[in-house]
Symmetry: C2
Subunit: 331 residues, 2 copies
């Protein structure tokens, strides 16, 4: 069996072989073929978004995705929610000695497919190898460059009192799929791992979005708490309106977790003026990734920096920033 | 003692605390303070170089540097050798559970200092935490963006027969320092870890460089073999002209290694027309990082893709692409 050895990361013959046999083969494009220490890029505009994310998800392959797909979509989504068109990604691999090369090949194929789907190019890369017991098969960093053409850029600092809060579908599916895998819990748990750039483009082209963010690690709870603090507003959520699958609710009860703190990898929170909320909702529903979209709450003047949940009976509870101690390596 | 826990990587309260208490404190700038999923950047030009590198060096602290400094200078140097002015870096951290927070703080301070020295800004970042035994305290990815103003861009594909090959000083110092550390060998071994952007700017402003590359992992041997293949030329090296410290030669003999395959972290190989070689050498020597610069060889028509070493007695031997099996985690 072909295994990754320490020499594969030493910059010599075996590194070159990996580059030729895997990276150039599956990811090759005019930039990667330049073969220099970096890629020379001519951007269509000089206003860009630059983002980075490392991926250490365990297990590496899960229902609905794998670490390769996640690494591409994760950074593509981070660029898209900033109002940028994702164009170029870098790929940094940290491999553990003993990783099977066919396994690496499958992950690279998955990266290539995800790049093709989202229209981004992997233009520069790096591979390091660490000794057995100093890693966990594969860790991936992707950094990305997207270009901005939109007149306004959504930011966590721009949510305004009166704005409505929308989400494009069921929350917590990625976190639930990973946890179910790890705990050997059977059931209908599938990660929502998906590229959001197309759906987001559709929204941004037509509506004046104030804030947009993908509630990945830390889930809806972390994302809205960040926004409430950045924008100095209160955020009211409507319990009955938040789409969560029944099996995810059950799993959370079983594991003692809050579904609002579970990670998503194909969801976007959109905050914009109340007047256009219904129209945006209808637009989102026309897209395959927005079929279960919902208006889930409203931005308030007060209490600043606080997210709270209201139910139909008038009950209220604060949704705090999660601590996260039960949710390691979710992405 | 304050330790990194898995919850520090879960995107909740403890992640936010790390961001505020370490990253914003030491690395803070107008872009990082945006606090969104990526940084919005207005570049002075739309022609850029994009590069990525992960750093897994062991030990993390070594004579002449540490993993933080290395992570900044490594990517800055990759951008500089491509003819770009380094402007922006991303910072991706993979921390091992149990890392002492004061240790992380020292590394972040070192990153901040290196960024200041080189005039780059850390504009976006990400932190993940893996379980004890699934990492080695800290792995760092930096990706970087530099802008190109030069009329020509050096590339590994542009070396021409007749060109002279220069290097800015002693080779193998970084590799020797790391290996001496690991093997507990005492002696005067200090990494050459340094930012090359200033020296390179001085050269590029004044001379028509064909090829420029920093011989890091895999050393001079890997770098010149890559260039010989990319440019379809032969490369002749002059043994007596290549600056290597006596103690590094001795260490290589002791460990059975080739000094040409040892990593450098503050060296640049410059290939340009013979007519200007002496003048470039003099210019390099005016710079603190070029005091021991030398002309070490010449590009030949033949044999294509081959690097060979000639000595004063007419002896010749081929310098092959290193395999690298003895040099893991050198950067």
């Amino acid at each position: 069996m072909d295994l990754i050895t320490l020499a594969h990361g030493a910059g010599g013959k075996l590194t070159a072989k990996l580059i030729d046999n895997l990276f150039k083969k599956y990811l090759g494009n005019e930039y990667l073929f330049q073969g220099d220490d970096g890629a020379v890029l001519s951007l269509p505009t000089s206003k860009i978004v630059f983002s980075t994310d490392s991926f250490v998800v365990s297990p590496r392959i899960f229902p609905g995705g794998d670490i390769g797909k996640l690494a591409v979509y994760g950074t593509v989504n981070d660029l898209a929610v900033m109002g940028a068109k994702p164009l170029f990604l870098s790929l940094g691999l940290i491999l553990e000695e003993g990783l099977m090369i066919p396994e690496l090949e499958r992950i690279i194929q998955s990266i290539a497919e995800a790049a093709k789907i989202t229209g981004v190019k992997i233009v520069t890369g790096d591979t390091k190898v660490v000794e057995k017991g100093k890693g966990d098969q594969i860790y991936i960093n992707t950094s990305g460059i997207g270009v901005i053409n939109a007149p306004f850029i959504p930011t966590g600092r721009a949510a305004k009192p009166g704005d409505k809060i929308l989400v494009n579908g069921f929350l917590g599916d990625h976190g639930a799929a990973i946890l179910a895998c790890r705990e050997n819990i059977t059931g209908d748990f599938i990660s929502d791992c998906a590229p959001l750039n197309d759906l987001i483009e559709l929204i941004l082209e037509n509506f004046p979005v104030h804030t947009m963010r993908d509630p990945s690690r830390g889930g809806l709870a972390a994302t809205l708490n960040e926004i409430a603090k950045q924008s100095r507003v209160g955020i009211e959520l409507w319990e009955e309106s938040i789409p969560i699958r029944p099996q995810v609710k059950t799993l959370c009860g079983y594991l003692g977790l809050d579904a609002f703190a579970l990670a998503n990898e194909g969801k976007v929170v959109v905050i914009l003026p109340s007047e256009v909320a219904t129209e945006v909702l209808e637009t989102m529903k026309t897209h395959p990734l927005g079929q279960n979209a919902a208006i889930i709450g409203e931005v308030k003047n007060e209490p600043q920096g606080i997210v709270y949940l209201k139910n139909a009976f008038g009950g209220e509870r604060i949704i705090d920033m999660p601590l996260g101690e039960n949710l390691p390596r979710i992405c």
